[in-house]
Amino acid sequence: MINLLSAQFYRLRRDGLFWALSAAALALSAFNGWRVGADAALYKVQASLDKVYFDVSPMMALAYAVFTALFLGAEYGGGAIRGKLTVGKTRTQVYLANYCVCLGANLCLLLLTMLGGLTAALYLGGFTAGAGKVTLEILSCVFQCAALTAVFVALASLCTNRALGSAGALLLALGLILGASLIYNVLQEPDYTSEMIITIDGAVMGPKEPNPHYVAEPLRTIFRGLLYFLPTGQAILLANQGLAHPIWGMLCSLAIALGGNLGGILAFRRKDLK
Protein backbone atom coordinates (compact mmCIF):
# COMPACT_ATOMS: atom_id res chain seq x y z
CA MET A 1 0.00 0.00 0.00
CA ILE A 2 2.84 2.40 0.92
CA ASN A 3 4.55 1.51 -2.37
CA LEU A 4 1.38 2.20 -4.32
CA LEU A 5 0.94 5.54 -2.57
CA SER A 6 4.55 6.45 -3.26
CA ALA A 7 4.07 5.61 -6.94
CA GLN A 8 0.75 7.44 -7.26
CA PHE A 9 2.03 10.62 -5.59
CA TYR A 10 5.08 10.42 -7.86
CA ARG A 11 2.71 10.43 -10.84
CA LEU A 12 0.64 13.23 -9.33
CA ARG A 13 3.74 15.42 -9.10
CA ARG A 14 4.25 14.94 -12.84
CA ASP A 15 0.62 15.34 -13.80
CA GLY A 16 0.09 18.41 -15.97
CA LEU A 17 -3.66 18.42 -15.36
CA PHE A 18 -3.14 18.64 -11.60
CA TRP A 19 -0.84 21.65 -11.91
CA ALA A 20 -3.15 23.31 -14.44
CA LEU A 21 -6.19 22.83 -12.19
CA SER A 22 -4.21 24.05 -9.16
CA ALA A 23 -3.16 27.20 -10.99
CA ALA A 24 -6.73 27.74 -12.22
CA ALA A 25 -8.19 27.20 -8.72
CA LEU A 26 -5.77 29.70 -7.20
CA ALA A 27 -6.17 32.29 -9.96
CA LEU A 28 -9.97 32.08 -10.21
CA SER A 29 -10.59 32.19 -6.46
CA ALA A 30 -8.10 35.07 -6.08
CA PHE A 31 -9.81 36.96 -8.89
CA ASN A 32 -13.25 36.22 -7.45
CA GLY A 33 -12.18 37.34 -3.96
CA TRP A 34 -10.62 40.52 -5.32
CA ARG A 35 -13.67 41.27 -7.51
CA VAL A 36 -16.21 40.74 -4.70
CA GLY A 37 -14.11 42.74 -2.24
CA ALA A 38 -13.49 45.58 -4.72
CA ASP A 39 -17.20 45.74 -5.67
CA ALA A 40 -18.23 45.84 -2.01
CA ALA A 41 -15.76 48.66 -1.38
CA LEU A 42 -16.79 50.57 -4.54
CA TYR A 43 -20.54 50.41 -3.94
CA LYS A 44 -20.16 50.75 -0.18
CA VAL A 45 -22.04 47.46 0.36
CA GLN A 46 -22.04 46.12 3.89
CA ALA A 47 -20.09 42.88 3.50
CA SER A 48 -17.68 40.79 5.49
CA LEU A 49 -15.16 38.13 4.53
CA ASP A 50 -17.39 35.48 6.18
CA LYS A 51 -20.18 36.24 3.70
CA VAL A 52 -18.12 35.88 0.55
CA TYR A 53 -15.33 33.46 1.51
CA PHE A 54 -17.26 30.24 0.81
CA ASP A 55 -19.00 31.58 -2.31
CA VAL A 56 -17.15 29.19 -4.64
CA SER A 57 -17.38 26.08 -2.43
CA PRO A 58 -20.38 24.56 -4.32
CA MET A 59 -18.38 24.74 -7.57
CA MET A 60 -15.53 22.71 -6.10
CA ALA A 61 -17.49 19.55 -6.95
CA LEU A 62 -16.80 20.25 -10.63
CA ALA A 63 -13.06 20.56 -10.05
CA TYR A 64 -13.01 17.31 -8.03
CA ALA A 65 -14.98 15.52 -10.75
CA VAL A 66 -12.72 16.68 -13.58
CA PHE A 67 -9.50 15.87 -11.79
CA THR A 68 -10.57 12.47 -10.41
CA ALA A 69 -12.09 11.27 -13.67
CA LEU A 70 -9.12 12.27 -15.83
CA PHE A 71 -6.41 11.22 -13.38
CA LEU A 72 -7.90 7.78 -12.75
CA GLY A 73 -9.08 7.47 -16.36
CA ALA A 74 -5.41 7.29 -17.34
CA GLU A 75 -5.15 4.06 -15.31
CA TYR A 76 -7.46 2.39 -17.80
CA GLY A 77 -6.56 4.47 -20.85
CA GLY A 78 -2.97 3.20 -20.97
CA GLY A 79 -3.84 -0.05 -19.23
CA ALA A 80 -1.49 0.89 -16.40
CA ILE A 81 -3.79 -0.56 -13.75
CA ARG A 82 -2.82 -4.05 -15.00
CA GLY A 83 0.83 -3.37 -14.16
CA LYS A 84 -0.10 -3.20 -10.48
CA LEU A 85 -2.41 -6.19 -10.34
CA THR A 86 -0.06 -8.51 -12.24
CA VAL A 87 2.68 -7.90 -9.67
CA GLY A 88 0.39 -9.00 -6.84
CA LYS A 89 -1.15 -5.78 -5.54
CA THR A 90 -4.69 -6.47 -4.38
CA ARG A 91 -7.62 -4.59 -5.84
CA THR A 92 -8.46 -3.15 -2.43
CA GLN A 93 -4.94 -1.76 -2.14
CA VAL A 94 -5.09 -0.29 -5.65
CA TYR A 95 -8.51 1.26 -4.97
CA LEU A 96 -7.54 2.77 -1.62
CA ALA A 97 -4.28 4.15 -3.03
CA ASN A 98 -6.28 5.76 -5.83
CA TYR A 99 -8.69 7.26 -3.31
CA CYS A 100 -5.87 8.60 -1.14
CA VAL A 101 -4.03 10.25 -4.01
CA CYS A 102 -7.21 11.81 -5.40
CA LEU A 103 -8.21 13.02 -1.93
CA GLY A 104 -4.75 14.55 -1.50
CA ALA A 105 -4.95 16.30 -4.85
CA ASN A 106 -8.53 17.52 -4.31
CA LEU A 107 -7.64 18.82 -0.84
CA CYS A 108 -4.77 20.66 -2.45
CA LEU A 109 -7.22 22.26 -4.92
CA LEU A 110 -9.46 23.19 -1.98
CA LEU A 111 -6.55 24.70 -0.05
CA LEU A 112 -5.49 26.77 -3.04
CA THR A 113 -9.06 27.97 -3.58
CA MET A 114 -9.23 29.02 0.06
CA LEU A 115 -5.89 30.76 -0.16
CA GLY A 116 -6.98 32.63 -3.29
CA GLY A 117 -10.25 33.66 -1.64
CA LEU A 118 -8.28 35.55 0.98
CA THR A 119 -7.74 38.40 -1.52
CA ALA A 120 -11.21 39.59 -0.50
CA ALA A 121 -9.71 40.33 2.92
CA LEU A 122 -7.74 43.18 1.30
CA TYR A 123 -11.03 45.11 1.06
CA LEU A 124 -13.24 43.47 3.68
CA GLY A 125 -10.82 42.76 6.48
CA GLY A 126 -10.63 39.49 8.39
CA PHE A 127 -13.33 37.08 9.53
CA THR A 128 -15.90 38.55 11.87
CA ALA A 129 -17.01 35.13 13.15
CA GLY A 130 -15.03 33.37 15.85
CA ALA A 131 -12.09 31.11 15.04
CA GLY A 132 -14.08 28.06 16.17
CA LYS A 133 -16.91 28.67 13.70
CA VAL A 134 -14.54 29.38 10.81
CA THR A 135 -12.52 26.26 11.64
CA LEU A 136 -15.69 24.14 11.64
CA GLU A 137 -16.72 25.62 8.29
CA ILE A 138 -13.32 24.88 6.78
CA LEU A 139 -13.43 21.36 8.22
CA SER A 140 -16.86 20.95 6.68
CA CYS A 141 -15.33 21.76 3.27
CA VAL A 142 -12.65 19.12 3.89
CA PHE A 143 -15.30 16.48 4.68
CA GLN A 144 -17.32 17.49 1.62
CA CYS A 145 -14.17 16.98 -0.43
CA ALA A 146 -13.64 13.52 1.09
CA ALA A 147 -17.24 12.51 0.31
CA LEU A 148 -17.28 13.81 -3.26
CA THR A 149 -13.87 12.26 -3.96
CA ALA A 150 -15.20 8.87 -2.79
CA VAL A 151 -18.14 9.14 -5.19
CA PHE A 152 -16.00 10.18 -8.16
CA VAL A 153 -13.31 7.56 -7.43
CA ALA A 154 -15.98 4.85 -7.39
CA LEU A 155 -17.32 6.08 -10.71
CA ALA A 156 -13.87 6.33 -12.31
CA SER A 157 -12.82 2.90 -11.01
CA LEU A 158 -15.88 1.19 -12.41
CA CYS A 159 -16.02 2.94 -15.78
CA THR A 160 -13.15 1.79 -17.99
CA ASN A 161 -13.85 4.30 -20.75
CA ARG A 162 -12.01 7.51 -19.88
CA ALA A 163 -14.19 9.82 -21.98
CA LEU A 164 -17.42 8.24 -20.74
CA GLY A 165 -16.19 8.29 -17.14
CA SER A 166 -15.21 11.96 -17.37
CA ALA A 167 -18.53 12.95 -18.94
CA GLY A 168 -20.41 10.91 -16.33
CA ALA A 169 -18.48 12.50 -13.45
CA LEU A 170 -19.10 16.00 -14.81
CA LEU A 171 -22.80 15.34 -15.26
CA LEU A 172 -23.02 13.84 -11.79
CA ALA A 173 -21.27 16.88 -10.29
CA LEU A 174 -23.57 19.24 -12.15
CA GLY A 175 -26.58 17.18 -11.10
CA LEU A 176 -25.48 17.28 -7.45
CA ILE A 177 -24.95 21.04 -7.58
CA LEU A 178 -28.19 21.78 -9.42
CA GLY A 179 -30.19 19.31 -7.32
CA ALA A 180 -28.94 20.82 -4.06
CA SER A 181 -29.47 24.33 -5.37
CA LEU A 182 -33.03 23.45 -6.34
CA ILE A 183 -33.75 22.04 -2.89
CA TYR A 184 -32.20 25.11 -1.26
CA ASN A 185 -34.32 27.48 -3.36
CA VAL A 186 -37.48 25.54 -2.62
CA LEU A 187 -36.72 25.73 1.10
CA GLN A 188 -36.20 29.49 0.82
CA GLU A 189 -39.78 30.03 -0.32
CA PRO A 190 -41.73 31.97 2.33
CA ASP A 191 -44.92 30.46 3.76
CA TYR A 192 -47.00 33.55 2.97
CA THR A 193 -46.62 36.13 0.23
CA SER A 194 -48.34 39.39 -0.42
CA GLU A 195 -48.67 41.17 -3.72
CA MET A 196 -47.51 44.72 -4.20
CA ILE A 197 -50.38 46.97 -5.37
CA ILE A 198 -49.63 50.22 -7.15
CA THR A 199 -52.14 52.98 -6.28
CA ILE A 200 -52.15 56.74 -6.90
CA ASP A 201 -50.75 57.09 -3.39
CA GLY A 202 -47.85 54.82 -4.25
CA ALA A 203 -47.10 51.15 -3.74
CA VAL A 204 -48.84 49.33 -0.92
CA MET A 205 -48.61 45.68 0.12
CA GLY A 206 -51.70 43.59 -0.48
CA PRO A 207 -53.15 41.04 1.94
CA LYS A 208 -50.99 38.04 2.88
CA GLU A 209 -51.78 34.84 1.02
CA PRO A 210 -50.40 31.31 1.46
CA ASN A 211 -47.49 30.65 -0.94
CA PRO A 212 -48.35 27.67 -3.18
CA HIS A 213 -44.59 26.94 -3.62
CA TYR A 214 -44.01 26.66 0.10
CA VAL A 215 -42.95 23.15 1.12
CA ALA A 216 -44.80 22.08 4.22
CA GLU A 217 -43.91 19.39 6.74
CA PRO A 218 -43.04 16.53 6.60
CA LEU A 219 -41.50 17.12 3.16
CA ARG A 220 -39.72 20.19 4.52
CA THR A 221 -37.80 18.09 7.07
CA ILE A 222 -36.91 15.55 4.37
CA PHE A 223 -35.62 18.29 2.05
CA ARG A 224 -33.66 19.91 4.86
CA GLY A 225 -32.17 16.49 5.73
CA LEU A 226 -31.29 15.90 2.09
CA LEU A 227 -29.60 19.28 1.86
CA TYR A 228 -27.47 18.39 4.88
CA PHE A 229 -26.79 14.91 3.52
CA LEU A 230 -25.55 16.06 0.11
CA PRO A 231 -22.01 17.51 0.19
CA THR A 232 -23.07 20.03 -2.46
CA GLY A 233 -26.08 20.92 -0.28
CA GLN A 234 -23.79 21.66 2.63
CA ALA A 235 -21.60 23.75 0.33
CA ILE A 236 -24.62 25.80 -0.80
CA LEU A 237 -25.69 26.32 2.80
CA LEU A 238 -22.14 27.36 3.63
CA ALA A 239 -21.99 29.80 0.73
CA ASN A 240 -25.25 31.33 1.96
CA GLN A 241 -24.16 31.42 5.60
CA GLY A 242 -26.86 28.91 6.46
CA LEU A 243 -24.93 25.86 7.67
CA ALA A 244 -26.33 25.80 11.18
CA HIS A 245 -25.16 22.28 12.09
CA PRO A 246 -21.73 21.73 10.54
CA ILE A 247 -21.08 18.64 12.69
CA TRP A 248 -24.14 16.89 11.25
CA GLY A 249 -22.96 17.79 7.78
CA MET A 250 -19.54 16.36 8.48
CA LEU A 251 -21.05 13.12 9.78
CA CYS A 252 -23.13 12.83 6.61
CA SER A 253 -20.04 13.43 4.46
CA LEU A 254 -18.13 10.84 6.44
CA ALA A 255 -20.94 8.33 5.88
CA ILE A 256 -20.88 9.03 2.13
CA ALA A 257 -17.08 8.72 2.03
CA LEU A 258 -17.14 5.40 3.89
CA GLY A 259 -20.14 4.04 1.98
CA GLY A 260 -18.76 5.19 -1.38
CA ASN A 261 -15.41 3.58 -0.75
CA LEU A 262 -16.86 0.35 0.59
CA GLY A 263 -19.30 0.01 -2.30
CA GLY A 264 -16.61 1.00 -4.78
CA ILE A 265 -14.15 -1.56 -3.43
CA LEU A 266 -16.73 -4.36 -3.47
CA ALA A 267 -17.72 -3.59 -7.06
CA PHE A 268 -14.10 -3.09 -8.18
CA ARG A 269 -13.11 -6.47 -6.74
CA ARG A 270 -15.70 -8.17 -8.92
CA LYS A 271 -14.84 -6.26 -12.05
CA ASP A 272 -13.18 -8.06 -14.95
CA LEU A 273 -10.31 -6.00 -16.29
CA LYS A 274 -9.23 -6.12 -19.89
Binding site: A7, A74, G79, T86
Partner: protein, 304 residues
Protein backbone atom coordinates in the same frame (compact mmCIF):
# COMPACT_ATOMS: atom_id res chain seq x y z
CA UNK B 1 9.83 -31.67 -14.03
CA UNK B 2 9.13 -28.52 -12.02
CA UNK B 3 6.32 -26.29 -13.26
CA UNK B 4 6.06 -22.58 -12.56
CA UNK B 5 2.51 -22.45 -13.81
CA UNK B 6 -0.19 -25.12 -13.90
CA UNK B 7 -3.86 -24.88 -14.67
CA UNK B 8 -6.49 -27.48 -13.94
CA UNK B 9 -9.88 -27.43 -15.66
CA UNK B 10 -9.76 -23.64 -15.81
CA UNK B 11 -13.00 -22.10 -17.05
CA UNK B 12 -13.95 -18.51 -17.80
CA UNK B 13 -17.40 -17.57 -18.98
CA UNK B 14 -18.66 -14.21 -20.21
CA UNK B 15 -22.42 -14.55 -20.05
CA UNK B 16 -23.16 -17.57 -22.20
CA UNK B 17 -19.81 -17.45 -24.02
CA UNK B 18 -17.19 -19.89 -22.78
CA UNK B 19 -13.81 -18.25 -23.31
CA UNK B 20 -12.01 -21.03 -21.42
CA UNK B 21 -13.57 -24.47 -21.16
CA UNK B 22 -11.49 -26.61 -18.82
CA UNK B 23 -8.01 -25.46 -19.78
CA UNK B 24 -5.21 -27.74 -18.62
CA UNK B 25 -1.74 -26.37 -19.11
CA UNK B 26 1.67 -26.76 -17.50
CA UNK B 27 4.60 -24.42 -18.08
CA UNK B 28 7.93 -26.00 -17.10
CA UNK B 29 10.53 -23.92 -15.32
CA UNK B 30 13.01 -22.33 -17.70
CA UNK B 31 10.82 -22.94 -20.74
CA UNK B 32 9.74 -20.55 -23.44
CA UNK B 33 6.16 -21.70 -23.73
CA UNK B 34 4.36 -20.63 -26.88
CA UNK B 35 0.58 -20.46 -26.73
CA UNK B 36 -0.85 -21.00 -30.19
CA UNK B 37 -4.43 -20.71 -31.32
CA UNK B 38 -6.94 -18.94 -33.52
CA UNK B 39 -8.45 -15.57 -32.65
CA UNK B 40 -10.88 -16.17 -29.82
CA UNK B 41 -9.24 -19.49 -28.87
CA UNK B 42 -8.75 -18.18 -25.33
CA UNK B 43 -5.06 -17.24 -25.30
CA UNK B 44 -5.51 -13.70 -23.99
CA UNK B 45 -8.27 -14.73 -21.57
CA UNK B 46 -5.96 -17.40 -20.16
CA UNK B 47 -3.24 -14.79 -19.71
CA UNK B 48 -5.65 -12.32 -18.10
CA UNK B 49 -6.81 -14.94 -15.62
CA UNK B 50 -3.28 -16.09 -14.84
CA UNK B 51 -2.19 -12.47 -14.28
CA UNK B 52 -5.03 -11.87 -11.81
CA UNK B 53 -6.89 -9.41 -14.03
CA UNK B 54 -9.91 -11.68 -14.15
CA UNK B 55 -11.19 -14.36 -11.83
CA UNK B 56 -11.84 -17.81 -13.24
CA UNK B 57 -15.47 -18.98 -13.31
CA UNK B 58 -14.27 -22.39 -12.13
CA UNK B 59 -11.14 -24.52 -12.02
CA UNK B 60 -7.78 -23.85 -10.44
CA UNK B 61 -4.34 -22.63 -11.29
CA UNK B 62 -1.06 -22.68 -9.42
CA UNK B 63 1.72 -20.12 -9.64
CA UNK B 64 5.08 -21.35 -8.40
CA UNK B 65 3.21 -24.08 -6.55
CA UNK B 66 0.76 -21.71 -4.80
CA UNK B 67 -2.98 -21.61 -5.54
CA UNK B 68 -3.42 -18.60 -7.84
CA UNK B 69 -6.48 -17.14 -6.14
CA UNK B 70 -5.08 -17.44 -2.60
CA UNK B 71 -3.01 -14.94 -0.59
CA UNK B 72 0.14 -16.94 -1.35
CA UNK B 73 -0.83 -16.75 -5.00
CA UNK B 74 -0.98 -12.96 -4.77
CA UNK B 75 2.50 -12.99 -3.22
CA UNK B 76 3.74 -15.38 -5.90
CA UNK B 77 2.48 -12.94 -8.50
CA UNK B 78 5.25 -10.61 -7.34
CA UNK B 79 7.54 -12.97 -9.31
CA UNK B 80 5.65 -12.38 -12.53
CA UNK B 81 6.14 -9.70 -15.15
CA UNK B 82 3.49 -9.33 -17.84
CA UNK B 83 2.54 -7.48 -20.98
CA UNK B 84 -1.02 -8.54 -21.72
CA UNK B 85 -2.46 -7.00 -24.90
CA UNK B 86 -1.13 -3.41 -24.77
CA UNK B 87 1.83 -2.47 -22.59
CA UNK B 88 0.66 -1.04 -19.24
CA UNK B 89 2.08 2.48 -19.46
CA UNK B 90 1.18 6.06 -18.62
CA UNK B 91 1.37 7.92 -21.93
CA UNK B 92 1.88 11.31 -20.28
CA UNK B 93 5.02 10.13 -18.46
CA UNK B 94 8.39 9.52 -20.09
CA UNK B 95 9.81 6.02 -20.49
CA UNK B 96 12.19 6.61 -17.57
CA UNK B 97 9.37 7.96 -15.39
CA UNK B 98 7.22 4.93 -16.17
CA UNK B 99 10.04 2.70 -14.99
CA UNK B 100 10.54 4.83 -11.88
CA UNK B 101 6.79 4.52 -11.22
CA UNK B 102 6.90 0.73 -11.55
CA UNK B 103 9.97 0.58 -9.30
CA UNK B 104 8.01 2.47 -6.65
CA UNK B 105 5.01 0.12 -7.06
CA UNK B 106 7.35 -2.80 -6.44
CA UNK B 107 9.14 -1.00 -3.62
CA UNK B 108 12.54 -1.38 -5.27
CA UNK B 109 15.26 0.50 -3.47
CA UNK B 110 17.60 0.84 -6.45
CA UNK B 111 15.84 3.14 -8.88
CA UNK B 112 18.99 3.43 -11.04
CA UNK B 113 17.92 0.10 -12.51
CA UNK B 114 15.63 2.05 -14.85
CA UNK B 115 18.59 3.10 -16.98
CA UNK B 116 19.86 -0.49 -17.19
CA UNK B 117 16.44 -1.75 -18.25
CA UNK B 118 16.09 0.96 -20.87
CA UNK B 119 19.49 -0.05 -22.23
CA UNK B 120 18.50 -3.72 -22.15
CA UNK B 121 15.46 -3.11 -24.34
CA UNK B 122 17.27 -0.64 -26.58
CA UNK B 123 15.52 2.52 -25.40
CA UNK B 124 18.48 4.32 -23.81
CA UNK B 125 18.06 7.32 -26.09
CA UNK B 126 14.29 7.52 -25.72
CA UNK B 127 14.10 7.34 -21.92
CA UNK B 128 13.33 11.06 -21.62
CA UNK B 129 10.67 11.09 -24.31
CA UNK B 130 6.97 11.05 -23.40
CA UNK B 131 5.46 7.61 -24.07
CA UNK B 132 2.59 9.08 -26.07
CA UNK B 133 5.20 9.96 -28.70
CA UNK B 134 6.61 6.41 -28.81
CA UNK B 135 6.10 4.13 -31.80
CA UNK B 136 4.26 0.83 -31.26
CA UNK B 137 7.54 -1.07 -31.19
CA UNK B 138 9.03 1.30 -28.62
CA UNK B 139 5.93 0.93 -26.44
CA UNK B 140 6.20 -2.84 -26.73
CA UNK B 141 9.83 -2.76 -25.64
CA UNK B 142 9.04 -0.36 -22.79
CA UNK B 143 6.28 -2.77 -21.73
CA UNK B 144 8.84 -5.56 -21.56
CA UNK B 145 11.20 -3.32 -19.58
CA UNK B 146 8.38 -2.56 -17.12
CA UNK B 147 7.59 -6.26 -16.83
CA UNK B 148 11.27 -6.90 -16.07
CA UNK B 149 11.40 -4.22 -13.37
CA UNK B 150 10.81 -6.61 -10.50
CA UNK B 151 13.39 -9.12 -11.77
CA UNK B 152 10.62 -11.67 -12.44
CA UNK B 153 10.98 -15.43 -12.72
CA UNK B 154 8.08 -15.69 -15.17
CA UNK B 155 7.40 -13.31 -18.02
CA UNK B 156 3.97 -13.37 -19.67
CA UNK B 157 3.96 -11.71 -23.09
CA UNK B 158 0.80 -11.53 -25.16
CA UNK B 159 1.58 -11.13 -28.87
CA UNK B 160 4.97 -9.47 -28.25
CA UNK B 161 5.73 -9.26 -31.98
CA UNK B 162 2.40 -7.64 -32.90
CA UNK B 163 2.75 -4.47 -34.96
CA UNK B 164 6.55 -4.54 -34.95
CA UNK B 165 8.63 -3.91 -38.04
CA UNK B 166 11.07 -6.66 -39.14
CA UNK B 167 13.93 -5.07 -37.20
CA UNK B 168 11.72 -4.76 -34.12
CA UNK B 169 10.70 -8.42 -34.40
CA UNK B 170 14.35 -9.48 -34.53
CA UNK B 171 15.20 -7.30 -31.52
CA UNK B 172 12.31 -8.58 -29.41
CA UNK B 173 13.10 -12.19 -30.40
CA UNK B 174 16.74 -11.76 -29.39
CA UNK B 175 15.70 -10.08 -26.15
CA UNK B 176 13.39 -12.99 -25.29
CA UNK B 177 16.14 -15.53 -25.98
CA UNK B 178 18.72 -13.51 -24.03
CA UNK B 179 16.44 -13.12 -20.99
CA UNK B 180 15.67 -16.83 -21.03
CA UNK B 181 19.30 -17.91 -21.39
CA UNK B 182 21.08 -15.31 -19.30
CA UNK B 183 18.55 -14.67 -16.56
CA UNK B 184 16.78 -18.03 -16.61
CA UNK B 185 13.38 -16.36 -16.95
CA UNK B 186 10.53 -18.68 -17.88
CA UNK B 187 8.40 -17.21 -20.66
CA UNK B 188 4.76 -17.66 -21.57
CA UNK B 189 4.21 -16.19 -25.03
CA UNK B 190 1.35 -16.05 -27.43
CA UNK B 191 1.83 -15.17 -31.04
CA UNK B 192 0.14 -15.40 -34.38
CA UNK B 193 3.46 -15.32 -36.16
CA UNK B 194 4.13 -19.04 -35.96
CA UNK B 195 7.41 -18.82 -37.83
CA UNK B 196 8.71 -16.35 -35.24
CA UNK B 197 7.37 -18.40 -32.35
CA UNK B 198 9.13 -21.49 -33.68
CA UNK B 199 12.42 -19.60 -33.47
CA UNK B 200 12.16 -19.08 -29.72
CA UNK B 201 9.74 -21.56 -28.15
CA UNK B 202 10.91 -24.64 -26.29
CA UNK B 203 7.35 -25.80 -25.59
CA UNK B 204 4.02 -25.28 -27.31
CA UNK B 205 0.42 -25.35 -26.19
CA UNK B 206 -2.23 -25.52 -28.93
CA UNK B 207 -5.48 -23.94 -27.85
CA UNK B 208 -8.87 -24.16 -29.50
CA UNK B 209 -12.25 -23.02 -28.16
CA UNK B 210 -10.78 -22.48 -24.70
CA UNK B 211 -9.37 -26.04 -24.51
CA UNK B 212 -5.83 -27.32 -24.72
CA UNK B 213 -5.67 -29.52 -27.81
CA UNK B 214 -2.09 -30.54 -27.33
CA UNK B 215 1.04 -29.64 -25.39
CA UNK B 216 4.29 -30.57 -26.99
CA UNK B 217 7.95 -29.72 -26.52
CA UNK B 218 9.93 -28.20 -29.36
CA UNK B 219 12.03 -31.38 -29.43
CA UNK B 220 8.97 -33.57 -29.85
CA UNK B 221 7.63 -31.21 -32.47
CA UNK B 222 10.92 -31.37 -34.32
CA UNK B 223 10.73 -35.14 -34.27
CA UNK B 224 7.19 -34.96 -35.60
CA UNK B 225 8.02 -32.35 -38.19
CA UNK B 226 11.40 -33.72 -39.35
CA UNK B 227 12.14 -33.59 -43.02
CA UNK B 228 11.62 -37.04 -44.41
CA UNK B 229 10.80 -39.14 -47.42
CA UNK B 230 7.56 -41.05 -47.13
CA UNK B 231 7.99 -44.29 -49.04
CA UNK B 232 5.15 -46.48 -50.14
CA UNK B 233 6.31 -50.01 -50.83
CA UNK B 234 4.82 -53.47 -51.32
CA UNK B 235 6.43 -54.79 -48.10
CA UNK B 236 7.89 -52.69 -45.25
CA UNK B 237 9.77 -55.70 -43.80
CA UNK B 238 11.78 -55.94 -46.96
CA UNK B 239 12.16 -52.14 -46.94
CA UNK B 240 13.52 -52.31 -43.39
CA UNK B 241 16.18 -54.80 -44.42
CA UNK B 242 17.17 -52.61 -47.36
CA UNK B 243 17.32 -49.45 -45.22
CA UNK B 244 19.40 -51.22 -42.54
CA UNK B 245 21.92 -52.09 -45.24
CA UNK B 246 21.97 -48.46 -46.40
CA UNK B 247 22.32 -47.25 -42.79
CA UNK B 248 19.31 -44.89 -42.93
CA UNK B 249 17.15 -43.83 -39.98
CA UNK B 250 13.47 -44.63 -40.50
CA UNK B 251 10.07 -45.15 -38.91
CA UNK B 252 7.66 -47.78 -40.14
CA UNK B 253 4.13 -46.38 -40.32
CA UNK B 254 2.22 -49.36 -41.72
CA UNK B 255 2.69 -52.54 -43.78
CA UNK B 256 3.20 -50.40 -46.84
CA UNK B 257 4.48 -47.03 -45.58
CA UNK B 258 7.59 -45.77 -43.83
CA UNK B 259 9.29 -42.43 -43.21
CA UNK B 260 13.01 -42.22 -43.93
CA UNK B 261 15.05 -39.47 -42.29
CA UNK B 262 18.04 -39.42 -44.58
CA UNK B 263 19.09 -38.13 -47.95
CA UNK B 264 18.72 -41.23 -50.05
CA UNK B 265 20.01 -42.03 -53.47
CA UNK B 266 16.83 -43.30 -55.05
CA UNK B 267 18.67 -45.46 -57.62
CA UNK B 268 20.60 -47.22 -54.84
CA UNK B 269 17.43 -47.66 -52.83
CA UNK B 270 15.57 -49.11 -55.82
CA UNK B 271 18.42 -51.52 -56.43
CA UNK B 272 18.47 -52.57 -52.75
CA UNK B 273 14.72 -53.07 -52.77
CA UNK B 274 14.92 -55.17 -55.94
CA UNK B 275 17.43 -57.38 -54.11
CA UNK B 276 14.90 -57.84 -51.29
CA UNK B 277 12.10 -58.55 -53.76
CA UNK B 278 10.21 -55.41 -52.82
CA UNK B 279 8.51 -52.96 -55.11
CA UNK B 280 8.77 -49.15 -54.66
CA UNK B 281 5.27 -47.78 -55.28
CA UNK B 282 5.72 -44.10 -54.39
CA UNK B 283 8.03 -41.47 -52.88
CA UNK B 284 6.80 -38.28 -51.22
CA UNK B 285 8.98 -35.58 -49.70
CA UNK B 286 7.57 -34.31 -46.42
CA UNK B 287 8.66 -31.08 -44.72
CA UNK B 288 6.21 -30.28 -41.93
CA UNK B 289 6.66 -26.93 -40.20
CA UNK B 290 4.99 -25.57 -37.06
CA UNK B 291 2.48 -23.97 -39.39
CA UNK B 292 1.50 -27.21 -41.13
CA UNK B 293 1.48 -29.03 -37.81
CA UNK B 294 -0.86 -26.33 -36.46
CA UNK B 295 -3.14 -26.48 -39.50
CA UNK B 296 -3.29 -30.28 -39.33
CA UNK B 297 -4.05 -30.14 -35.62
CA UNK B 298 -6.74 -27.47 -35.90
CA UNK B 299 -8.32 -28.93 -39.00
CA UNK B 300 -8.03 -25.61 -40.84
CA UNK B 301 -11.66 -25.33 -41.76
CA UNK B 302 -12.63 -22.38 -39.55
CA UNK B 303 -11.32 -18.87 -40.05
CA UNK B 304 -12.98 -16.71 -37.40
Amino acid sequence: MEYVLETQDLCKRYGSFHALSGLNMAVPQGAIYGLVGRNGAGKTTAMRVLCGLQTPTSGQYRLFGCPGTSRQGARARRRIGAVVEEPAVYPELTGGENLEYQARVLGLPDRGEARQLLRLVGLSDAGGKKVRNYSLGMKQRLGIALALAGDPDLLVLDEPMNGLDPQGIIEVRELILRLNRERGITMLLSSHILDELSKVATHYGFLDSGRMLRQISAQELEQTCRKCLRLTVSDTLALSRALEKLGAEYTVLSDTQADVYARLNISKLTKALEGEGCELVGVQERDESLETFYVNLMGGERHD
